[in-house]
Each structure stands twice: as structure tokens, then as C-alpha cells.
């Protein structure tokens, strides 16, 4: 566990840089991950991914499979990588405040 400070806000994160507490998600966290991902400007498509991930997580307690994410957003996986260079897990899920996925990942 580590503590991260960004723009005056403090976040507790795990060893892989995911938020420890989903409820700590806020605008500053988005800005922090945005800088980490090298995203110049958050577009509607970035926000759509964040919202779909949060909605799914709140209902199911896990992140969706990548195929389900593609189905829900209508974005091909390739496009998700264009939006979040680290990919759906290490980029989009992290920005949405979801915890690191469990299992062999």
C-alpha cells in the first residue's frame, strides 16, 4: 500500500497503482490517471468507458470481460487501446477507480 498526492488530494493505492477504495474516486484521480496515460484531453468516448465500467462494477462487483466491455460501449478493443494506451484494465479500469482485477493478471 502506498499514498499518492496529486493536486492537493491524497489517494491510497495498491502496489499496481489502483485505488484501494472505489469511493475515493474523484475528478483529481481522473486527472492523475490522465497524465499517467498521456491523454491530452478527455473526450466523450473516454467518459463513456469510465461510466460503463463504473456502472458494471457497481452492479456486479467486478470489471466486465473485455468482450462485454466492447459490447456495452460498441468500441472495438483496438479503439479502447487507442483511447487508453495501457488497455482496458491498467488504463480504463484504473481511471474509473476500480480495484485491480483478481486472478492471473
Amino acid at each position: 500500500m502506498a499514498t499518492l498526492e496529486f493536486n492537493g488530494k491524497t489517494f491510497e493505492i495498491d502496489e499496481d497503482g489502483f485505488l484501494l477504495d472505489y469511493n475515493m474516486y474523484n475528478e483529481e484521480w481522473v486527472k492523475y490517471v490522465q497524465t499517467q496515460e498521456g491523454i491530452d484531453e478527455m473526450t466523450d468516448e473516454h467518459w463513456k468507458l469510465v461510466e460503463v465500467l463504473q456502472d458494471y462494477y457497481e452492479k456486479n462487483g467486478i470489471a466486465p470481460m473485455v468482450r462485454v466491455l466492447s459490447k456495452l460501449t460498441k468500441f472495438k478493443l483496438k479503439h479502447i487501446y487507442e483511447l487508453f494506451p495501457s488497455g482496458p484494465g491498467k488504463g480504463a479500469c484504473k481511471m474509473a477507480g476500480l480495484p485491480k482485477p483478481t486472478g492471473c493478471v
Binding site: D14, E15, D16, N60, G61, I62, M65, V66, R67, V68, L77, K78, Y81, E82, P88, G89, P99, K100, P101, T102, G103, C104, V105
Partner: protein
């Protein structure tokens, strides 16, 4: 200034030592230890947290329970059993570490390992990623439809779910359906080519078992029992583990440890089947593509499938399959190898332990072994080996690529689809492409 000597009770009153002596089989008899240190000299975790296997065993024997309880090193040992393999007295040090993990209150064990075990316990699938029966069936069908539509010649490919009476019950690590579903396809194609009668099951398809890493006997047994019972319920004859080392070991060892009834069911790893199908002429990978290229390959011996369970015959089969695919002259073995090979540092739950720096340090020996072969590719028939060896290349800026065995076989058969080439390097990505398919842009 002189340090004050610690008074020890030589293990006479040690609760932990007594527990070990009572619980574990005679092979773990600590009083047999010669203190020779062979275990420590051959262990990649030696030195992490200023600990090593010999020191740990001595501390147990001397009754230093206080110092050992909740020691982080127990999560940095990958339980690869190399120490057990070389011990002249056959002391089961890995079993000691398993019990030492149990000295941690359950809720205080590494969050990722705990969460992965609990997630698997929440559903009937055994999926450590929490993938439900419905989602698993859906994603298998979705990928299958895509292959049938987009890949000429594969219109009749099958990926059965809950097929009663199928010969093989195929387990599946959640990583593929969850994060890279196209990686399931090469194995489906191989099974199709050899005419295997196989099935997935909605119940108990998840092969991974983080409860074993958590040292939670009750949950390990529950997940293993659930999966074995599902295979029996379908009337399958062989429980076939996909290329996942710890899944293979967890079900094979779990069945024995908890005396789970498997009447009529054989538990088998997949590598010897690949070899068997090649020997029988059912599978005909061809190495002609590498005649002039002379691209070099090495392989990792997954501890869970070789040293810890099926031994050197599996390692022999692994090399036979790879050599058939790439040409004998293009295979370079690492040293040491077979049952004496080093663990890569991906096992024991390391991926979810949170000890990322220790994991990379542990892997230095493996990285050096691979670099010494000068191979362009390292073949890993195990998910955790694959993940770790891939990460080692990134971290230490090595040029080798890491691939699954199914990728190499399908590539050498000329059936590896354009979307199934994620882990191939730029040298192989465009080669041996099936007719009618084109490589998409990188993402």
C-alpha cells in the same frame, strides 16, 4: 556494542514445530536437517527479506515462532520445491512454507491472493476473476461465431459447453475469456484437428486456484472438488488441464490431498497429449518455415507441471513438441533444465502477492538463463510463467518474446489466425498466415 543473545528453546516448546510434526508426513521431519545449505544455494528467493530456506528451517527447528509468524518471506517463496528436490534428506520445505502462510490471519494475507480465492468461492465456476457461468458461455459462443465467420475453413469449428459424455473435460484459466479471448482459439483448432471429443462446463470450468496459494485448505478442497464433480457429472473420462501450471497442480495435488473421489476420471496435463497426437500423426506441425530463418527457441519447465507433479517425462514431451515445430537445430535448452530448472518467480501466487519488486528480483536468474541461450523466443506452457517471463523481458529490457505452446503449434500447423498473434514478435507475425487472412494494425 555487543548484541544481546536471544534465548531460544530449541524447538521443544514450539507450537509451530509441533504442529508441523503432527500434521505433515514424515518427509518434513525437521530433525533430519543436515544444515548443509543446498536448499538456500539453489533458491532464487534466497536473500529476499534477509531470509533463505535453510535459515527458515533452522528458525522453525529452534522454535523461533515469534520471528517467523507473519514473516513476509513466505509470500516471496514461490513454493517451487527446488529446495525439496535437492535436499539430501528430503525435507519438505515447501510444505513448511505452506503452513507458515497459515500463521497469517486469513484477512491479513496478501489482498490480491485473498481476493482471488474469495472471488472463486463466490461463483460455481471457480473463476478467480469472478466470471459467471452465463458470461463464460456467452464469450465462448461470441468468439466461436467470429472465427466461423471470419476465418475461411473453420466454419465447423466447435467449442462445446456442458456436452455430456465428452471424453475430455477441458479446464480454462479465466485470463483468456476475461482479458484475451482470442487466445482460446488456437487450442480449439488443435483439438478440432485431432478429432478430440471435448467439452467445457459452466460449473467448475475455472482452472485457477488461488485458495491453494492462500494456504486455505478448506477453500482449495472446495474449488477442486467442485470442478472434479462437474467433470464426473458430465461423464467425462479425462480432466484435461490447459496450459496452466498451478491449475494442473492444484487439481492433481488437491485430489490426492483431500481424497476426492475421481473414479473413472484421469487427471492429465495437456503437453503429453500434444506429443502423443504428433507421434500418432494426428497433429502435423511443420518446421520448414524455420529452415532458413533459424529463429531460436528455448522453453521454461513449469515447476507445477514438471518438478512438482509429472516430472521429466513431461519435460521431454515439451521439448519434442517444440523441436517438431521449430526444427531440432533451432532449439536451445537453458541450463539447468528439466526438474532442476529454476522457477521464474511467477508461481506461488506472486502475481497477486503485491510483492512486485521481490518478484522481479527473484526472476533475475530466469532472465539470465534465457539470455544465455540467446534464444529469440521462450515457450511457456503455463500462464504464470508466461506472465512473469514476459514481464521480466519488459523490466530488464530484453529482446526475447514469450509465447504459449498452443501459439507455436498452431503457427507451425499454418492455422494461427491473424487475431491470435499477440505474443509473436515482428519476425513471425506476418509468416505462415492462413489463406484469406490479413494481419491487422497493432494496437
Amino acid at each position: 556494542m555487543t548484541e544481546v543473545a536471544k534465548k531460544i528453546d530449541h524447538g521443544t516448546k514450539s507450537a509451530f514445530k509441533t504442529k508441523l510434526m503432527d500434521k505433515l508426513p514424515n518427509g518434513v521431519n525437521l530433525n533430519m536437517c543436515l544444515t548443509c545449505g543446498v536448499c538456500a544455494s539453489g533458491c532464487p528467493a534466497t536473500g529476499l527479506e534477509n531470509m533463505d530456506p535453510r535459515k527458515f528451517v533452522r528458525m522453525v527447528a529452534l522454535g523461533m515462532d515469534e520471528e517467523l509468524t507473519m514473516h513476509p518471506w513466505v509470500w516471496m517463496c514461490s513454493q517451487c520445491q527446488r529446495c525439496v528436490y535437492v535436499c539430501p534428506m528430503n525435507i519438505d520445505i515447501a510444505a513448511i512454507i505452506f503452513e507458515a502462510r497459515n500463521l497469517w490471519p486469513r484477512e491479513e494475507r496478501p489482498k490480491g491472493i485473498l481476493g482471488s480465492c474469495d472471488m472463486a468461492m463466490r461463483n460455481s465456476c471457480g473463476s478467480a476473476m469472478g466470471i459467471s457461468e452465463e458470461d463464460f458461455e456467452w464469450v465462448v459462443g461470441d468468439i466461436l461465431d467470429e472465427v466461423r465467420e471470419d476465418q475461411p475453413g473453420w466454419e465447423d469449428l466447435e467449442a462445446p459447453v456442458n456436452k455430456e459424455g465428452a471424453h475430455f473435460f477441458l479446464s480454462q484459466n479465466s485470463r483468456e475469456p476475461g482479458t484475451e479471448p482470442e487466445e482460446m482459439v488456437p487450442l480449439w483448432k488443435i483439438l478440432h484437428i485431432v478429432g478430440a471429443d471435448w467439452t467445457y462446463a459452466t460449473r467448475g470450468w475455472g482452472g485457477e486456484n488461488y485458495c491453494m496459494f492462500l494456504a486455505d485448505d478448506e477453500s482449495w478442497e472446495k474449488t477442486a472438488r467442485n470442478s472434479i464433480e462437474s467433470a464426473k457429472e458430465l461423464g467425462c473420462k479425462v480432466y484435461l488441464n490447459t496450459e496452466c501450471g498451478h491449475a494442473t497442480y492444484a487439481i492433481w495435488k488437491g485430489q490426492q490431498k483431500y481424497n476426492i473421489d475421481k473414479t473413472g476420471l484421469e487427471i492429465a496435463p495437456i503437453v503429453p497429449y500434444y506429443a502423443k497426437w504428433i507421434r500418432e500423426g494426428k497433429l502435423k506441425p511443420n518446421s520448414d518455415w524455420n529452415k532458413d530463418l533459424k529463429i531460436k527457441f528455448t522453453c521454461q519447465d513449469p515447476c507445477q507441471q514438471v518438478r512438482k507433479s509429472f516430472g521429466d517425462p513431461l519435460a521431454d514431451d515439451l521439448r519434442f513438441v517444440i523441436k517438431t515445430c521449430v526444427g531440432e537445430e533451432n532449439f536451445v535448452d537453458m541450463t539447468p533444465n528439466y526438474s532442476n530448472n529454476f522457477c521464474c518467480g511467477g508461481g506461488g501466487g506472486y502475481l497477486q502477492s503485491g510483492y512486485n519488486d521481490a518478484r522481479l528480483k527473484y526472476g533475475e536468474i530466469k532472465k539470465d538463463q534465457i539470455l544465455a541461450t540467446a534464444a529469440d523466443y521462450c515457450v511457456t506452457p503455463c500462464h504464470n510463467c508466461h506472465d512473469q517471463i514476459h514481464k521480466l523481458a519488459d523490466h530488464y529490457e530484453c529482446k526475447y518474446h514469450t509465447i504459449h505452446l498452443w501459439t507455436l503449434i498452431a503457427f507451425s500447423l499454418g492455422v494461427l489466425g491473424a487475431t491470435e498473434r499477440t505474443y509473436l514478435g515482428p519476425d513471425l507475425k506476418p509468416l505462415n498466415m492462413p489463406e484469406g487472412q490479413e494481419l491487422e494494425d497493432e494496437y
